[in-house]
Subunit: 291 residues, 4 copies
């Protein structure tokens, strides 16, 4: 397929490379040029990438970035083409993009992904997909080149966006719970690594996501960032915005917001969001890092 | 081995039966008589059960119940015998029992367990063990008859008690996070069961504990109780007491306390602690149960 | 002075009437026509009210309403005129209005007010004022006709907006604290009115704002609304938005957000924001209202 | 009257001196000897102070201290004498003391006080009183020598204890709300002193308790302690214990607990409890104290 790929950050670069390696014809655009991986042709503008594309993928940081690119996609994508939005964005934007692409005879499929950059490289992403069935079907070959599995969530793109926000809320909650439990154990004199591995083995059957976060928190390994702190705050804020629109109190999400905000107030923009555990360590009077 | 087994609730009954089935000579005592399973000889008092025992197991609801029984065990257990405490109790009591048994030439091993009554029946408990190494070793045959695995946590019984409290805090956190995410998804029109299974498959690789809680919450199945609401509040309160003694802020544990307390204020004493999700549903203006 | 007055809700109507009674020439516009009090001439559009005005007052519900009106004021106000914004709005909008009016040779003065409609009628409002000194000075005669006192807060309009948001955050916090204390006392059997009056007399020397909220909460008098629930959520959300922009964790504000959100999820849009106490009563298992 | 006064801390010393100055015959006991003010006769034991006393006052730090002294008072006070408990203690202890004194033909009156040491010196305390009416009446002359006003709260001593706990919960809430608002204002560039005085004037009519806390927080003046941090945590914990017994969720009280605990985890035991604002400053990335 002819794919326009917009956004060559850590995630996007790996994904574009995998699409090319799977035989797709990928033209890619990135705000900062010079990031295209081998096999991918870089273009000077979104419009140039989009002209003639069958599917345009967006994989960028936030609503504002998606909106900027979408303006060009709406103008330049051929009728019948699909905008496959893989960023984590707000319900509102997801809904609006669906409407605007429809008006131009194009389609919007929300396809947010779970997975760190390593997973993107290894084609181990999990992909959520929601949109008009025919359009979702057209994205299928891309999903196969990018992930280990796709979950279809119906016709409303915002359902995929919200499911992704729920997922990130859950991961952030894991960070909080492990941070609290490990600070408590550490001040009681329990070995953090032993506590972490015991609890994740017994309670999570060693599942890699909880085990990974617990291990990094118990080792106070907060850098480098796989998913940077400001993105953590952004996603929790999106969940809170959804909660306000839908009128659903989310006290735990609010608690998480406060802790990501504190992390950023302390200048930890470059840390992984798991480093939010640092504020719990400080609150307990523990040093940020083990001696 | 000659085992005195104190406490024949849902958990204890299944465990005592498994010990007897494994060939141990089990004499059991329960506050309410008539609960002994086949193969277990019921006694009229703790002291009668304890006389001549090599190991005495306590498996009761809370600190007060353990303290009451411990007074008799201290008096009646032979020198050299081991009190194997399998209840979830406070650090303070764990520490004190260790000291008091030591003074009488007995030993105390904290051996709290993870697992619902079904797991107890199926010999699938996870057992934490901490205490004097020789005493832990003497309990090993019992652990083998009761569980699928034992984690040794050193010489200090309170380390096992605290690890158990951390574990229950984590499960309670799972309840909270799933309750919030599922309420949000439901008001957005996402099918609860689909959301629950998607998230637990992707984020927890389908591990049974998170998957089980998420499934029950998404089905609004809050009864019957495997672990009753007041026990949930009790364990969170024990974690908070430890946090105060150790000076470790636990904001998420405090949030959980409020929600268990609200559940009890509403008279849900007989519900499973997963039913704490009900207060999040009500706060969102959702009916307690699906139509 | 020739005054254009935009917004004739409960607050605005009383204020416009007081301006007219003080001898100002008031032309007023309201989205729903037919609300102008005696002595005030109603116009069919904002522009018509603004043409020839020396000062234009905006007193409407939220950012969106102010923005809509401001577009017309920017176009229609004479050079040298002052937009005196008395609504509670975001820092961002306050800053932007200052900039846009400056570019057109006009001025923006943020002048949010404290006080319920009764206070507006009685000319007992408290007014915060921030903006270019000359422009603030021009608004002075209006302030005198409307309030019991004005506090000048420097040249940056957003400082007045933020001070107002802090004030409303504090009032909302009073609602929360009284709601919790009174629920606790009531379940202990203490007479709510006695508890409320004792605490406000001793701790607040009977100051009317805390005493009034405590009295209404103790009487479970949640209607009619002087300041409606959705406005409460709006102002807390504005404070949280400011906290995110400025990177200042506000855990109590987050807690308040959850409780206003719960009130709205339960359909209490028409209640006074003091009725947020209702969710604390329900959480405690108390009836919403005294028998 | 013949008064036994137990507890000569900052508060007790001032109060004992005022009782002596009012003509009462005061015998005082303190754990650390040598603290008796002029006009007060120090005794070597509680029992010696209590023998022959008409009223025994206890004014000490916590439940444990009151319990220790009460054992001696129960034994040594003459029949008909009154134990006037002025410390802030738990409901449980209040209730139990009432029962135990009654059994010995003595009476217990809970008489907790509001006021800092300066207020105690100046006879400006506020006194809550609850107990058997005749016993309360006998304490009246003491109240007159100690305070500016007494509020009678009925026959159940625990009602006075709980009202006091509610009052301290409210003051702690003021600390939290001012800490958050002032941190927000400071990062926005608003002068803290101006913000503090504006808000307390407008919202609290300048009432001294909120104005005093707001002023100290805006000045980052956290020492010396009038009411030390550990006492703050103690009282919030007592309120939370009451909330658990009465099944009343108190989310704000839980939030306060976390912040007092964090203050103590950071070693601020000697700070005034108003210094809890420090943790909000740190969370916002502000220095603990103004340059």
């Amino acid at each position: 397929m002819r794919v326009a790929f917009c956004g060559l950050g850590k995630m996007g670069r790996a994904m574009a490379a995998n699409l090319a390696a799977a035989g797709h014809e990928v033209r890619a655009w990135n705000r900062t040029p010079g990031k295209a991986p081998q096999g991918v042709r870089e273009t000077g503008s979104v419009r140039e990438a989009a002209a003639n594309a069958e599917v345009a993928v967006t994989m960028v940081a936030d609503d504002a970035a998606v909106e900027g690119i979408a303006r060009d996609l709406l103008a330049a994508l051929p009728a019948g083409a699909v905008h496959c939005g893989m960023s984590t964005i707000s319900l509102q934007l997801s809904r609006r993009l669906a409407e605007e692409h429809r008006q131009r005879g194009q389609a919007y499929v929300a396809s947010p992904v779970f997975g760190r950059p390593e997973a993107a490289e290894a084609k181990k992403l999990w992909i959520l997909a929601a949109g008009e069935p025919a359009a979702v079907k057209r994205c299928q070959p891309l999903y196969e080149a990018l992930g280990q599995g796709t979950v279809e969530l119906g016709e409303k793109p915002e359902h995929a966006s919200l499911t992704k926000l729920c997922g990130n809320f859950i991961i952030a909650s894991l960070i909080e719970m492990f941070a609290e439990a490990l600070a408590l154990g550490e001040k009681a004199g329990i070995d953090p690594e032993a506590l972490s591995s015991t609890l994740t083995r017994i309670l999570f059957a060693g599942a890699p996501i909880p085990a990974g976060y617990a291990a990094r928190i118990s080792a106070t390994q907060f850098e480098p960032a796989s998913f940077a702190m400001p993105l953590g705050l952004k996603d929790i804020s999106l969940a809170l915005a959804a909660s306000e629109a839908l009128r659903v109190p989310l006290p735990l999400a609010s608690l998480l917001r406060e802790h990501f905000l504190e992390s950023l107030a302390k200048g930890r923009d470059a840390w992984d969001w798991g480093g939010m555990a640092g504020v719990l360590r400080e609150a307990a009077g523990l040093p940020l890092h083990h001696g």
